[in-house]
């Protein structure tokens, strides 16, 4: 066993840090943008930054070089993801969706033409996808989706509604799951498509999230005609593709790094703030709670590192990914809860208030921590996976 990074990996980490310091525009930090809090201005900055990352090959570091990636090994990818998050770089869920879900799936299941059309552009940061999975009646139970794609001549005609589509209002394409054969049982009835968001018949309606921001949408498809070649992989094989896409390597180390960022902020605050004549950092109860958070971050980090290591050694992560996601997202809730206690009454102040602490990152994370997995599944679904796939507990 060896828990340290090699000298080369450490050097890479330093390179990433230096690069980020030099390349994240200062304006970005003034905008107090966190998960789900994009504005038109922040989106523009983020997209420009992502293109820069793309040029370095760091937007899609796992992709082969021929597709614009950097062919980085598992450990360096881990380091990169950690540093991007820890430096609050302008890459968010849109990148996760575009690069890790769609781009990976296209490499796996797309034909040569599709790969040529999309994958390199994804890696360079030229295009953004949104995810068209969830529907009003198909959330955790994605197999119940009802949006239809009917074959007609050279085209598919799409009708139905998607919901919670993050960044559909900015996206160039939608990665869409739709029913192509209503007469066969679930799991064998759907297919995956690339849909240009400019196609006539698509209506995107904003939904305002709990942070008061416009991050997700309802998307309506009303006789939307798309060329047949936009079907990805085999017809009616969509469920399989979805299931495989779930398994692409995602260490989830972002949550650990994000938690670390919050903890460091809180520790700094506690050390520099006096209440009733005493530094908060001297309060035994708060010390105890913050120490517990440091401990749990270490656990979270190890659960994420494990995934990278499994892939590095040629294995395949299964319930381990669910465990890392579950632990990280539950930790974020505990962390923001502790954070609220550290800040006391100030904790409730939102950004824009003159008395808010920092940029109100604790309050904003407190709200954002409620957002459940995009496509990956809620905590309950993760637990189901751990129990059934991981421990072999019976379904019935």
């Amino acid at each position: 066993m060896d828990f340290k990074f090699t000298a080369e990996e450490e050097a890479f980490r330093q390179e990433v840090k230096d690069w980020l310091k030099a390349n994240i525009p200062p304006r970005w930090f003034e905008l107090t943008t966190g998960y789900w809090q994009e504005t038109d201005e922040s989106w523009k900055i983020a997209r420009a930054f992502q293109k820069k990352l793309g040029v370095k090959g760091w937007l899609a570091p796992a992709y082969p070089r021929e597709y614009g990636g950097a062919d980085l090994g598992h450990i360096k990818r881990l380091i990169l993801a950690e540093e991007l998050t820890y430096h609050n770089a302008p890459v968010g869920v849109e990148t996760e969706i575009t690069v890790n879900w769609v781009g990976m799936a296209l490499q796996h299941f797309g034909n040569e033409q599709q790969k040529k059309d999309y994958v390199s552009r994804v890696a360079k940061g030229d295009i953004v996808f949104c995810l068209g999975y969830s529907e009003p009646n198909a959330g955790s139970d994605l197999a119940s989706l009802q949006t239809r794609a009917t074959e007609k001549g050279d085209e598919y005609i799409i009708n139905g509604q998607k919901i919670w589509c993050s960044y559909a209002h900015y996206a160039d394409y939608c990665w869409l799951a739709a029913v192509t054969d209503p007469d066969v049982p679930k799991h064998r009835n759907m297919s995956m498509f690339v849909v240009d968001m400019k196609t006539p018949g698509i209506t995107v309606r904003p939904l305002i999230n709990i942070l008061g921001c416009h991050s997700f949408n309802e998307v309506f498809f009303d006789d939307v005609r798309i060329p047949k070649e936009n079907l990805v992989g085999e017809k009616n094989n969509g469920w399989f593709q979805l299931a495989v896409a779930l398994d692409f390597e995602r260490s989830g180390v972002q949550t650990a790094a994000g938690n670390q960022l919050l903890l460091d902020f809180l520790v700094g605050y506690a050390k520099s703030t006096k209440r009733n004549g005493r530094f908060l950092s001297e309060d035994p109860a708060l010390r105890n709670e913050l120490a517990e958070m440091a401990i749990e971050i270490e656990v979270a980090r190890m659960l994420c590192y494990r995934i990278a290591w499994i892939y590095k050694t040629g294995g395949h992560s299964n319930y381990e990914s669910s465990m890392a996601m579950l632990f990280g997202s539950e930790l974020l809730r505990r962390m923001t809860d502790v954070g609220m206690r550290v800040l006391g009454k100030y904790g409730q102040l939102m950004n824009g208030s003159k008395w808010a602490i920092g940029q109100a990152e604790i309050a904003r994370s407190y709200l954002a921590s409620l957002s459940i997995g995009v496509g990956g599944g809620t905590n309950e679904i993760q637990k189901n996976i751990i129990a059934m796939r991981g421990l072999g507990l019976p379904r019935k």
């Binding site: 066993m1 060896d2 828990f3 340290k4 990074f5 090699t6 990996e9 450990i75 903890l263 520790v267 506690a270 050390k271 950092s281 010390r287 105890n288 913050l290 120490a291 517990e292 440091a294 401990i295 749990e296 270490e298 656990v299 190890m302 659960l303 590192y305 494990r306 990278a308 290591w309 050694t313 319930y319 381990e320 465990m323 579950l326 632990f327 309950e380 993760q382 637990k383 189901n384 751990i386 129990a387 059934m388 991981g390 421990l391 072999g392 507990l393 019976p394 379904r395 019935k396």
Partner: protein, 377 residues
């Protein structure tokens, strides 16, 4: 980064599993729990033959030259099988104290005989305060003639009932700094004035009260430097805490395995109880605790093994694992229902040890305090 075991460690793990499954069945564990000695000479000798006592000690003292990490792998398995006996006190507590602070002669003599299994040695550290602070050491050692005279009461001393020698941590000097003036003596357990009484503990793990009444110890029996013993103990406490974590991880893994197997078999309402989501989610929580504690424990063990300053890693491991094992054991009990509440069932053997493990070498509060300092608070 390498999160896997080496080939040798995998072999050690496997052979330990096979050996213990055969040689240390729960029937024996129960007998030893009930007995006054708490260990089996036969099992002890077999373990010595396998080279377990000397696994991580240098070859020149008769050991196998392995690492602390190797020992961790073994302790994980021993925790899984809850092996009773003075292995922990002899190897981890006494062995590492001697290795770190003993002079050549002492190492050859005592460490050598630890490796062969000839000697059982323990460390008498905690006193009436029951804490792991230097200030709590009030047992005195007063110079007299060519030696010292020891007086005091040690509490929660593991395996003093069967030990040949006891490493006694005593105060040789009063000073403003409690760390200063502590010395370690190796005391023949049969010396006049040494009296032990078994304490009745939840884990039946043979913790003792040891009363030292005018016990004479020759000067040559000082381990390490006069008055400077506390730094040795601090370093020992780190190793002991990680080693205890390793046992607890094994115990938690065993609890999980037992509970999951039972959940698959036990039928109520015409279905295995493992198909109820309440039970499934308990199991998911348990395996997360087990995997999480195993990683941070091994990380701490690795840091100790590499000779890195491991204070933070060790305290992280001990704080988390102490609580994780308890959580796992409680949930396992919950899954067993009434049958787990019987003496005949094995689950309580683990539940009892979860408490003992938590308390040994600093509980979660104690270690969180250290972590707080380590993160700059």
């Amino acid at each position: 980064m390498d999160l896997g075991l080496t080939e040798e460690q995998e072999m050690l793990k496997k052979s330990a599993q096979e050996f213990l499954a055969k040689e240390c069945p729960k029937k024996l564990v129960r007998e030893l729990d009930e007995s006054d000695t708490g260990y089996s000479r036969d099992l002890w000798n077999k373990m010595a033959q396998l080279g377990w006592m000397g696994l991580s000690f240098p070859e020149k003292y008769g050991g196998n030259g392995g690492s602390f990490l190797d020992l961790t792998v073994l302790l994980d398995e021993m925790g899984y099988n809850i092996v009773p006996g003075p292995f922990f006190s002899t190897v981890v507590l006494a062995g590492y104290t001697l290795l770190e602070a003993g002079n050549e002669e002492q190492k050859k003599e005592y460490l050598g005989k630890i490796c062969t299994g000839e000697l059982i040695i323990t460390v008498a550290l905690t006193e009436l305060d029951g804490t792991y602070d230097a200030a709590s050491i009030n047992t005195t050692a007063k110079a007299k003639g060519d030696g010292y005279v020891l007086n005091g009461t040690k509490l929660f001393v593991p395996d003093a009932n069967v030990a040949d020698y006891i490493l006694v941590v005593a105060r040789t000097k009063k000073s403003a700094n409690p760390d200063d003036g502590i010395t370690i003596f190796i005391v023949d357990a049969k010396s006049a004035g040494v009296k032990y009484t078994l304490l009745k503990t939840l884990a039946r793990d043979k913790l003792c009260e040891v009363i030292l009444e005018n016990v004479r110890v020759p000067k040559a029996h000082i381990i390490g430097n006069l008055d400077k013993g506390w730094s040795v103990i601090q370093s020992l406490l780190k190793k002991a805490a990680v080693a205890k974590c390793a046992e607890m991880v094994g115990g938690a893994q065993a609890s999980l395995d037992m509970a999951v197997n039972y959940a698959k078999e036990r039928v109520q309402f015409n279905r295995p109880i493992g198909s109820f989501q309440a039970i499934q989610h308990y199991c998911a929580n348990m395996v997360t605790d087990v995997d999480g504690s195993r990683f941070i424990t091994y990380k701490a063990a690795w840091a100790v093994s590499e000779g890195l300053p491991a204070d933070k890693e060790v305290s992280i491991a001990k704080a988390w694992t102490s609580e994780a094992f308890k959580r796992v054991a409680v949930l396992a009990h919950q899954i067993f229902g009434a049958i787990g509440f019987t003496m005949d069932h094995d689950m309580h053997l683990y539940f009892r040890r979860a408490k003992a493990g938590e308390l040994a070498y600093g509980d979660a509060d104690f270690h969180r305090d250290i972590v707080a300092r380590q993160i700059g608070l």
